[in-house]
C-alpha cells in the first residue's frame, strides 16, 4: 500500500515541477528543432536521432533533478516523518524513481512520436519503417533514462552535498548510461541487449541505493 501511495504522491509532485515543465515542453520542441536544423544524419531517421538526443539531454537533466531532490530532502530532514511510520524505507526511493521515470518517459514518448510524424509526413517512410525506428528510439530512451534515474537515486543517497552529487552525475551516471549504446554503435550487439543491459544495471543501482538507505541514520 505504501509504495502505491508514495508513487502517486511523488507523481503528483513531479509532473508539475519546474524541471518537468521544461521537459514536457522542451523534449517535444527538441524533436521539431532537430527536424528543421539537421539535414543529413548518416542515414539515421529523425525519429531515431531524436530518441538519442532526448535520452541524452533528458537523462542528464533527470538524474540531476533526482539527485538535487533527494539531497535537499535529506538535508531538510524531510524523510524523518516518513521513516518513523510503518513503511519500508526503500519505498521512498522506489517511489521517487518510478515517478520521475514515468514522467520523463511520457515526455520522451511525445517527442519521439512527434518526430515519427514529421518523418512520415516529409521523408516518405512507410509505416513499418517508422514503427521500427520508433521502437529502437524508445528502447534507447527507456534504457538511458532508467540508468540515469537509478544512478541519480544512488548518488542522491550517497552524496554528501548537492555540488558533489551534480559532479558525480556529470562524470558518472551520464557516462554509464551512454555505455549501454556500445553494443549498438559497435555493431556487435542487438537492440534487445541494450534493453536487457539497462534493466540489469538499473536494478543493481537501485538495489545498492535501497540497501544503503535502509541502514542509513538520519
Amino acid at each position: 500500500m505504501s509504495l502505491a501511495l508514495l508513487l502517486k504522491d511523488e507523481l503528483n509532485g513531479f509532473y508539475r515541477s519546474k524541471v518537468m515543465l521544461a521537459l514536457w515542453v522542451g523534449l517535444p520542441a527538441m524533436a521539431v528543432l532537430l527536424y528543421f536544423l539537421v539535414d543529413n544524419i548518416e542515414g539515421m531517421s529523425i525519429t531515431f536521432f531524436t530518441g538519442i538526443m532526448v535520452s541524452s539531454i533528458g537523462g542528464l537533466l533527470t538524474s540531476v533533478l533526482i539527485v538535487v531532490n533527494i539531497l535537499n530532502e535529506k538535508e531538510k530532514k524531510v524523510y524523518d516523518l516518513f521513516l518513523i511510520r510503518p513503511i519500508r524505507r526503500e519505498n521512498l526511493l522506489l517511489a521517487k524513481f518510478g515517478a520521475v521515470f514515468l514522467c520523463v518517459m511520457v515526455a520522451s514518448f511525445i517527442a519521439i512520436t512527434l518526430a515519427a510524424v514529421l518523418d512520415s509526413a516529409t521523408e516518405g517512410y512507410d509505416v513499418q519503417e517508422i514503427l521500427s525506428s520508433m521502437k529502437d528510439s524508445l528502447i534507447i530512451t527507456v534504457s538511458i533514462m532508467a540508468i540515469n534515474c537509478s544512478a541519480g537515486v544512488l548518488i542522491g543517497v550517497f552524496s554528501p552535498s548537492v555540488l558533489v552529487g551534480v559532479l558525480l552525475v556529470l562524470f558518472g551516471s551520464n557516462q554509464l548510461s551512454s555505455m549501454v549504446l556500445l553494443p549498438m554503435i559497435t555493431g556487435w550487439g542487438e537492440m534487445w541487449m541494450v534493453g536487457l543491459a539497462s534493466i540489469g544495471i538499473s536494478a543493481l543501482l537501485l538495489f545498492v541505493a535501497a540497501l544503503v538507505f535502509r541502514h542509513k541514520e538520519f
Partner: protein
C-alpha cells in the same frame, strides 16, 4: 509506557549520552529539559527509531525498539525540532499521506484531518501549499501529523519553540487534553518556563546524563529553600572571618566592603544564621543597613543541575 535503560551514544569521538536511564509512566507529560547540545534530540531520535546505532535498551509498551515493527511505529507520533515537509504539497495532501501511511483508513483520514486542523486552529490553511505557510502554522501542521493517527506516545522535540504566546498556550492545553485522554507525552525544551506549568514529571539532562528526575512539585520544594543570606552594613567589616565563623555558614562572598553574601551549609538553618549574623555585627559596634534571605529561583536551580557538576 517507555523504559530507557543505560543508553550510550557517541558521534565519532564525541560522547553525547552517557548511561542515560529513565521511565515514563503511561498518560504522563514528561518534560525533558537540557541546554543546547546536551543530547535531547539524540535521545528523541533513538526513541523514534531514527538512530539505531546505540548501546542500551529502549522499550515502548514492553516492545524493544530494536525490533522495530509496524505496530510499534503506529504507537508513536513524532514532531521534529524543525517541521520539514515536502513543499509542493498542500496541508491536506501532507496530512492525508501521513495519515494513510500511519495506518488510517481512507474514509477515516478526512474526518481526522478536519478534527485536528480545527483543534489546532489551522482549518483555513488546509488547501494552502506548505511552502506558503508561516513558521508557526508549519509547526501546527507538524503537530497535526503527529497526533493524526491517535498515537499512544507523542514524542515532541521542542514543540513550542518559535511559537507566539497564544500558540504556546494552545499547545500546552492540547498536551493536557491528550494526557487526560491517556496519551503519554514526551517533550523537550531548553527553556524551563516552557515545561514548568505543563509537565508532571521532568527530567533535566546535563552533559549526557540525567541530572534530575522527578515531579515538578518536588523541584518546586527545592526552589523554595533559602540557601543564601545577603547582608549590608553601614560601616565596612574589616574581616570576613567574623561571618565565616558563624554556625551553619559554608562560606562568605564579599561583594563590597560593607556587602556580603553568606552561603549556608547544606543543613544550615536560615533563621539561626540571620540571628547570629545580626548579633555578631552588632557586637562589633557596627550598624546593619539590611539583611534578608535569598531564595533560589527555578532557573538558577536548573542551571545548577546542568553545569559541570550537575548538582544543585
Amino acid at each position: 509506557m517507555v523504559s530507557v535503560r543505560g543508553i550510550y551514544k557517541r558521534y565519532k569521538d564525541l560522547p553525547v549520552l552517557l548511561n542515560l536511564s529513565f521511565d515514563i509512566p503511561k498518560g504522563s507529560i514528561f518534560g525533558y529539559i537540557g541546554p543546547n547540545g546536551s543530547g535531547k534530540t539524540t535521545t528523541i531520535k533513538i526513541m523514534t527509531g531514527l538512530i539505531r546505532d546505540f548501546q542500551g535498551e529502549v522499550s515502548i509498551e514492553g516492545r524493544s525498539i530494536r525490533n522495530w515493527s509496524s505496530e510499534l511505529s503506529s504507537t508513536i507520533g513524532y514532531l521534529p525540532q524543525q517541521t520539514s515537509l515536502q513543499e509542493w504539497r498542500t496541508v491536506d495532501q501532507t496530512l492525508y499521506t501521513f495519515g494513510r501511511l500511519s495506518g488510517l483508513q481512507a474514509s477515516e483520514v478526512d474526518k481526522r484531518i478536519k478534527e485536528v486542523t480545527e483543534m489546532l486552529g489551522i482549518a483555513e490553511y488546509r488547501k494552502r501549499k506548505v511552502s506558503k505557510l508561516s513558521g508557526g502554522t508549519l509547526q501546527k501542521v507538524g503537530m497535526a501529523q503527529a497526533m493524526l493517527h491517535r498515537p499512544k506516545l507523542m514524542v515532541l522535540d521542542e514543540p513550542v519553540a518559535g511559537l507566539d504566546p497564544e500558540s504556546r498556550v494552545l499547545f500546552k492545553n492540547l498536551f493536557r487534553q491528550l494526557s487526560r485522554e491517556g496519551t503519554t507525552i514526551f517533550f523537550s525544551s531548553h527553556i524551563l518556563s516552557d515545561i514548568e506549568d505543563v509537565a508532571d514529571t521532568i527530567g533535566i539532562l546535563g552533559q549526557g546524563r540525567m541530572r534530575y528526575m522527578g515531579s515538578m512539585e518536588e523541584l518546586r520544594e527545592r526552589v523554595g529553600r533559602s540557601t543564601e543570606v545577603s547582608l549590608e552594613t553601614v560601616e565596612p567589616i574589616p574581616d570576613d572571618r567574623l561571618l565565616e565563623s558563624l554556625p551553619g555558614v559554608s562560606k562568605v562572598e564579599r561583594v563590597a566592603d560593607n556587602r556580603f553574601h553568606i552561603i549556608l551549609q547544606e543543613n544550615g538553618q536560615i533563621d539561626t544564621v540571620v540571628d547570629s549574623a545580626i548579633r555578631a555585627v552588632l557586637a562589633q559596634g557596627l550598624h546593619i543597613r539590611g539583611i534578608h534571605p535569598n531564595r533560589q529561583s527555578l532557573e538558577s536551580l536548573y542551571l545548577s543541575y546542568t553545569d559541570g557538576e550537575g548538582r544543585p
